[in-house]
């Protein structure tokens, strides 16, 4: 039935899987050896051909991104490994760092070689202290074994890797906010263009790639773009780590081919919903994705394109499951509160709008809702994240996509569970308010 064999997480159950000897025993760093004998352009081409798309959330084609690095620039190039994993519902990068750190590091060296970079960073979120300590060890080990530093594996290519700890801000996972933070400034996202590939870290060409994206690279280089493309839908193929949390019997990270059905993920891999309760709604791709109702969720493939068609997104593949007992108004308030707390405050619509959402939803759950509140919730989300017309791809009232990331889920709650919001206008439900 399920013939897919995990690629990125194949060895994570084995003892010492995080060590260099183990990784080498299972073929680690052979891809790097091969890559260092190739032209950097050919490496980029191979990744382009594989149709690998970013695993951090935006899903941008990785090889295409690399291709934006200007060929004629004499500035240094930088590669940043985005390990700031902070999208609610997502916890896959932490697993990869704990269990397969050398796989990620090999991916980093491959990416750095392809773009002509000699100084690379790992930007890891501050809370991941254990992972930070482990990565420090891993990087030192790599230097000692000629996998980093000067003349890697006897080639004339050299690369340094620096680990930088973030301080726990959600916005620093957005690539330009991350770059600002890495430069020692407040993590305020930059206006694009110029995109980081043209002007990023220290105004130099910079590529920011996610941990999981980088971890795919050794496998692509070893087994070829054709193999990678044969896994799942051709436009967004490959293995993918799905994080399932919330109302399921067996939450966790599951590696499956792209395009797996959401129903299988929830009811097969994650063991279904406890106590025979009914499914109510699902976030398919982290808390920034619009929620799907149970009906929608039972009939969707976890594929970039298909989720866009459903007016949601695959995002970081953080699946949050809600069962029939979840109060959607309270859940919506919870989400709004997260975004109000994490809004960086740079753009007015987002800074003010998120606070408004929290105030209005709090008033609503406390019984003070007014008849126009529902319409006003729509108006506010539209003012933060643009009038949401997916067919026109309307974005852009804020500098970064944070605005959309709050507007889409909140709007989807109110739209799809309007009754529950209306109920609060007339009488308060039984459960006591947690506001």
């Amino acid at each position: 039935m399920n013939t897919f064999k995990p690629v990125l997480t194949e060895y994570i159950d084995q003892q010492d899987c995080h060590t260099l000897p183990f990784y080498k025993r299972v073929g680690g760093y052979t891809a790097l050896d091969k890559v260092l004998k190739m032209n950097p352009e050919d490496v980029t081409q191979e990744v382009k051909d594989s149709n690998l798309r970013g695993r951090g959330g935006a899903g941008f084609p990785t090889g295409v991104k690399w291709g934006f690095i200007p060929k004629d620039s004499n500035k240094p190039k930088y590669l940043i490994n985005n390990a700031d994993e902070s999208e609610p519902g997502t916890f896959k990068d932490r697993l990869l760092m704990n269990k397969a750190p050398h796989q990620m590091l090999e991916g980093m060296v491959i990416a750095a070689y392809a773009i002509g970079c000699h100084t690379s960073f790992i930007y890891i979120r501050g809370e991941f202290y254990k992972e930070y300590k482990l990565l420090e060890k891993v990087v030192t080990e790599a230097y000692e074994n000629n996998l980093l530093g000067d003349n890697i594996l006897g080639s004339n290519y050299s690369l340094d890797v620096v680990i930088h700890r973030g301080a726990g801000a959600y916005i620093c996972g957005e690539e330009t906010g991350l770059i600002e933070s890495l430069e020692g400034k407040r993590g305020w996202p930059r206006i694009k263009p110029p995109f980081p590939a043209i002007e990023g870290y220290l105004q130099s060409p910079t590529i920011v790639n996610n941990v999981e994206t980088l971890s795919c690279l050794p496998h692509i280089m070893n087994r070829g773009a054709g193999w990678f493309k044969s896994i799942g839908p051709e436009k967004g193929p490959g293995p993918r780590l799905f994080c399932i949390s919330g109302c399921v019997n067996n939450p966790g990270v599951f590696e499956e081919p792209m395009g797996v059905s959401l129903k299988d993920l929830i009811f097969d891999r994650a063991g279904g919903i406890p106590d025979g309760k009914q499914l109510k709604a699902v976030f398919p791709g982290g808390s920034s994705s619009a929620i799907l109702t149970a009906d929608e969720a039972m009939d969707v493939m976890m594929d970039f394109e298909e989720l866009v068609e459903k007016k949601s997104m695959l995002g970081s593949a953080g699946v949050i499951v809600m069962d029939e007992t979840v109060n959607m108004v309270q859940a919506c308030l919870n989400i709004a509160r997260f975004y109000a707390h994490e809004s960086c405050g740079q753009c007015t619509p987002c800074r003010e709008g998120t606070a408004w959402l929290v105030k209005m939803l709090t008033r609503l759950v406390n019984g003070g809702g007014k008849p126009d509140d529902i319409d006003m919730l729509f108006e506010i989300t539209d003012n933060i994240g643009g009038l949401i017309d997916f067919s026109k791809g309307s974005f852009g009232k804020t500098i970064c996509p944070f605005g959309e990331a709050v507007a889409w889920p909140v709007r989807s709650f109110v739209e799809k569970f309007k009754n529950e919001f209306m109920e609060y206008l007339t009488h308060l439900p039984q459960e006591k308010v947690v506001a």
């Binding site: 809370e127 202290y129 994080c243």
Partner: protein, 46 residues
């Protein structure tokens, strides 16, 4: 919330939804908690 020995803060995200509820005490994560386990954990700091 705080008493003379502990300060308790609710935080937005620890990147560990799969093993919730989670607390971070100083630099360390304690995952898959229940009220009983948490009491025990606090006792270990006595």
């Amino acid at each position: 919330m705080a008493n003379d020995r502990f300060t308790l803060m609710k935080v937005e995200c620890l990147g560990s939804c799969g093993t919730a509820p989670v607390v971070q005490i100083n630099k360390e994560y304690h995952e898959g908690l229940s009220t009983q386990k948490f009491d025990k954990l606090l006792e270990s700091f006595e």
